[in-house]
Amino acid sequence: MEIDLLVIGGGPAGLSAAITAAELAHSVLIVDENPKLGGQLIKQTHKFFGSESNYCGIRGIDIAEILEDKVNKLGITKHLESTVVGIYEDGVAIASEQALRVVHPKKIIIATGARENMLSFVNNDLPGVYGAGAVQTLVNVYGVLPGKRALMVGSGNIGLIVSYQLMQAGVEVVAILEALDHVGGYEVHAAKVKRLGIPILLRHTIKSAIGNDKVEAAVITKLDEHWQPIPGSERELNVDFICLAVGLSPSYELAAQAGAKIVYIPELGGWLPWHKPNLETSVSGLYVAGDAAGVEEAVSALLEGKIAAADASNSIKENKYAQKLVETTQKELQEFRAGKFGKKIIEGKRKLYASLHL
């Protein structure tokens, strides 16, 4: 199968890339592991507030439907419940339950997202310890509750939003722990959980999970200014599950397999494929976009997908419109990152661009 663009991952970055390329009259194939497109948007029940975004004020679940609708209207080919198992010089292998296929794309965009970070504590592998995103999937996608009383570890936006959504679903969030001396996420989200009466315990962390085959309680501890647990400050909390909202790491494995240079940038979530401002990796014609290009937000993922696809389009066949689209979207992304929370990302991307001398 000969195609212009292969998009790996059907979340915000991938869908935005696919739509952009199809609108520029390219043949596009999207591959996603799930039976439904949308990536992690399908569990985001909160409203987005990207300042310059077209989707400001819309819930993530609805953005997923809008994007899927566009993909269908543009007649973009999808391979769902399929996995790209390898990118080779003579083709890309895609596996599904039914078949192993090889495609020959001119350009590839890797939009594989991110995975949740683990935290080191006693019994952290006990059933009932979940990534916060996993709890969001259970509760918001399947309508299934993992328990009645939750402990949230981490007060970044994900920790705050998931705490709020748990309360909406009838779960009691006993506390939100934060190792820093200030709340990590946006003030709007913090205010919402505080109004519900959920205590945010600053300079606290989890010491252990208790239980035989399932979480039955958690022991928390205070931290001193050197991040060391303060002896005697331990407290046992009666909870039946624990959510870890301690950050995400880019899913870079496929890019690494394809030979892309991988670099470590803490501000962007750790190891990730090195890339240029046009999102192209060190392998010519191989792009990365969204959380796989540095953990950020759905809005920036949408913009990055657009930039990568427009740049790929221009490099398949030079065209002014695509060039212009790259420039205007890069400007839009800059404006989106101009706020207080964009500082870290800007610093991370600056380090990234400076980090490789090929």
Binding site: V129, A134, T137, L138, G143, K214
Partner: protein
């Protein structure tokens, strides 16, 4: 535990089906993952680890961490979070390393 009423979300559950966990029938809905169906039924231990035989359950729910590997319809190492239920599906806890049964 399943949510029946929610302030924002209308859950569109599929057709009701039966899956078998360790031979015991469990109610599930088409369109949901094996992991979701098991947790809805109060089952949290999905496997035991190879070396220390520690209980493991769902962790990431999106096919990235491999904490939820189970034996599904005879096949080992299936991610319970990524496999969707089918009527009559047989699900077993994986004990240690996944082994193909050779049938």
């Amino acid at each position: 535990m399943r949510i029946t009423e929610h302030p924002i979300i209308k859950f569109k559950r599929g057709r009701k089906v039966t899956i078998y966990f360790e031979g015991k029938p469990i109610e599930a809905y088409e369109g949901e993952s094996v992991a979701a169906a098991l947790i809805a039924a109060g089952i949290y231990v999905f496997r035991y680890s190879p070396r220390h035989k520690r209980a493991r359950g769902l962790f990431c729910a999106i096919g990235k961490c491999s904490s939820c590997l189970m034996q599904i319809d005879g096949k080992p190492n299936q991610m319970a979070c990524m496999v969707h239920v089918r009527d009559g599906m047989r699900v077993r806890r994986q004990k240690g390393k996944g082994v193909l049964d050779g049938n």
